[in-house]
């Protein structure tokens, strides 16, 4: 797993939000590695901590968030300990972020050209002419025609898909090493989704950018990502190369997510759902966070928190894959069961 080539290494990251003085769960012991030239897909339901994770990497968490422990290493440098000056030089330059809603992330009263120019001026000493040329070139890269002319337009003059591509163009102006895209396609229709995925893939190939895509759409993740991280209630449940996770999910939660994934379903029969709901941030459990909704949960799952253990090159947080957890001792018979395949 952990190779020397990692661009981003997160270890045991825990974050809580203080609400009325009470700490609520944000992230709980999250670890991940992301190498250059790789696309990592982060999936999970609302409230799973996906966005907290992306804001933590850029250290753009709201003021009531507290990093309790853990490290976020970007090229070896721990961003948890980094000061504001260091963060400001990294953000927008080496680490770029594309947010879910392109309209609210673009300034409504400035032209696209001005905004793209400002993004460069904040980090580089380049003349206005060159900034404009670079902006036009980047718009062209993301497939926006008549780039020169479009630089003079305002955000409201573009369609949703174009705005999202403008956001991506803007984030790539300074050729970042890491691009974090939070739900980049969820506001878009299928045709635009396909375009954005193709765009991200192409950029990775051309620029060697490492990309982290956060999405609740497994279809998008399946198509765009090399590796998948499944999150639930602020914890990492499974990490796996994309092909394997679809062919053979390890965690019961991953299995449930795949079962409810939209797709061609037989008409006339109710669709499968995951019963129950994600535990709220104030609910803490001693055991596995998913135990309350898991069909295979046994008493140990409610009592002890499973460890994030390695299964080959994959990792999974589930008692089923831990022979020492006690899960395999069936409650009725006391007989040991074989681990499921």
């Amino acid at each position: 797993m952990s190779t020397g080539g990692s661009l981003l290494e997160i270890e045991d990251l825990s974050i809580s939000y203080l609400v009325d003085g009470i700490p609520l769960r944000g992230l709980r012991g999250v670890s991940l590695d992301l190498a250059r030239n790789r696309i990592l897909g982060v999936v999970g339901e609302s409230g799973s901590g996906k966005s907290t994770l992306s804001f933590a990497i850029t250290r753009l968490l709201p003021s009531n968030a507290r990093i309790d422990e853990g490290s976020i290493r970007f090229e070896g440098q721990d961003l948890v300990k980094a000061d504001m000056t260091t963060l400001e030089t990294l953000r927008g330059d080496r680490i770029a972020m594309v947010f879910q809603d392109p309209l609210s992330s673009l300034h409504p009263c400035l032209t696209i050209g001005q905004q793209m120019s400002d993004a460069q001026r904040a980090h580089r000493r380049i003349g206005a002419g060159e900034r404009r040329a670079r902006s036009a070139e980047m718009l062209d890269t993301v497939g926006i025609a008549e780039a020169e002319q479009n630089l003079g337009r305002f955000p409201h003059e573009f369609s949703g898909g174009m705005r999202q591509r403008i956001m991506i163009a803007m984030s790539l102006l300074l050729q970042p090493d890491l691009l974090i895209a939070d739900e980049p396609t969820s506001a878009l229709d299928v045709l635009l989704q396909g375009q954005i995925i193709a765009l991200l893939n192409g950029l990775r190939e051309r620029l060697g950018t490492a990309v982290m895509i956060v999405s609740h759409d497994l279809g998008v993740i399946g198509e765009a990502a090399d590796d998948v991280l499944v999150m639930y209630a602020g914890e990492t449940m499974e990490y796996s190369p994309v092909g394997q996770i679809f062919a053979q999910p390890l965690h019961p939660y991953t299995e449930a997510l795949l079962a409810v994934m939209p797709g061609r379903k037989a008409r006339g029969r109710p669709l499968p759902t995951i019963p129950g709901r994600v535990p709220s941030a104030s609910e803490t459990s001693l055991g596995c966070a998913f135990a309350g909704r898991c069909e295979r949960a046994r008493s140990v799952c409610h009592a002890n928190r499973p460890v994030y253990s390695a299964v080959g090159e994959r990792r999974v947080r589930c008692h089923i894959y831990d022979p020492l957890s006690g899960w395999h001792v069936a409650p009725e018979t006391g007989q040991r069961e074989g681990a499921p395949t």
């Binding site: 299928v190 279809g219 198509e223």
Partner: protein, 339 residues
């Protein structure tokens, strides 16, 4: 239910319906005539919804789906054509009569959370529907009853919108639509922005309500898998026109129009190969300046000179299946491949 009193008759019948934004509707002439042409968001659309039927309306953002839904409900003024509900034309109906008829036609708005007032709790939000319609107290369904219809516990009655999850807010929206005991609901993107698990649960709920209450839906979505699962009939819209419509299974399995084919091909399903020649290039053109001839010709992989010049008519391309494409036969037989 009143819908059942029209057996075999369409519940909603749309003929030649157009909706314009901008100059055409303004009635201004001469010096004051606006220079920009009107935007025909809906252009000469025919659509029929039978009692108890689910009609899926799909197409890219900007194709006019929501405007069509709103025009059918009388929320936009049509520039031409007719909408009939249970046999009665809504065009030219007096406002009093329209109000009465409109109780039976409801809408589930796209952004449920935003459509619920943040200052009202769920119980007030449900009562508000009756207050607006001045429904007598004894004819009102209780909040608990409406909530149970959408599978929410009565403990939600005292919650405020910010305390609800996306799926729960959507259910409250559905409950508001159900309050007036409608025969017809326009559901505008009821599943967008929800978690995968919540999407499946909302679809199951809408299907159960349909079979229990015999409600017809116009289901507006860009989730093609959902529409293939739910709808009886699918209509595909592009730049204000319906380019293809037919029985859902047939249309999903064997789409005739190259636009529908591209849409179906664009759905990402892990492990399934896409057909690269069907990838649509570029963006949807501005509906203010629609392309000549077939509106799709600027993006169509099969476009011929004829497509630029002449607008295709709707042709019968299967039982109950209509396609507006000059070359659907050639494309279907594969004899007409990419240039």
């Amino acid at each position: 239910m009143s819908a059942a009193s029209y057996p075999g008759q369409p519940l909603v019948e749309v003929r030649g319906l157009s909706t314009c934004f901008g100059s055409e509707g303004t009635g201004l002439t001469g010096l004051f005539k606006p220079e920009v042409p009107a935007l025909r968001a809906v252009d000469d659309v025919d659509l029929v919804v039978m009692p108890g039927q689910i009609v899926g309306l799909v197409g890219e953002s900007g194709s006019g789906k929501t405007t069509l839904g709103r025009t059918i409900l009388g929320l936009e003024k049509p520039a031409g054509g007719d909408v009939r509900f249970a046999g009665r034309s809504l065009v030219g109906l007096g406002s009093g009569e329209l109000r009465l008829l409109r109780r039976r036609m409801q809408m589930i708005p796209q952004d449920s959370a935003a459509s619920l007032s943040p200052r009202m709790n769920v119980s007030q939000l449900l009562g508000e529907v009756y207050d607006i319609r001045r429904t007598p107290k004894d004819k009102r369904r209780s909040a608990a009853e409406l909530l149970s219809m959408v599978e929410l516990g009565s403990e939600h009655a005292n919650k405020y919108p910010h305390e609800l999850s996306g799926g729960q807010a959507k259910r409250v929206s559905i409950a508001r639509a159900l309050a007036m005991e409608p025969d017809f609901i326009v559901a505008d993107e009821p599943t967008s922005g929800l978690d995968v698990s919540a999407v499946a649960a909302i679809i199951n709920l809408l299907m159960r309500l349909r079979s229990q209450l015999r409600i017809s839906y116009l289901f507006i979505t860009h989730d093609l898998d959902a529409v293939a699962y739910m709808a009886d009939v699918i209509a595909v819209m592009y730049l204000g026109k319906i380019v293809e419509a037919g029985p859902a299974e047939q249309l999903a399995e064997a789409p005739r129009h190259p636009y529908t084919q591209s849409l179906m091909n664009a759905v990402s399903r892990p492990g399934e190969e896409r057909r690269p020649w069907l990838a649509i290039r570029g963006d949807i053109p501005s509906p203010r300046f629609p392309p000549s001839g077939c509106r799709f010709h600027t993006r169509c992989p099969f476009a011929q000179p004829l497509c630029r010049e002449q607008e295709p008519k709707q042709e019968e391309s299967g039982p109950g299946h209509r396609t507006a494409c000059h070359f659907w036969r050639e494309i279907a037989s594969g004899s007409h491949l990419i240039q």
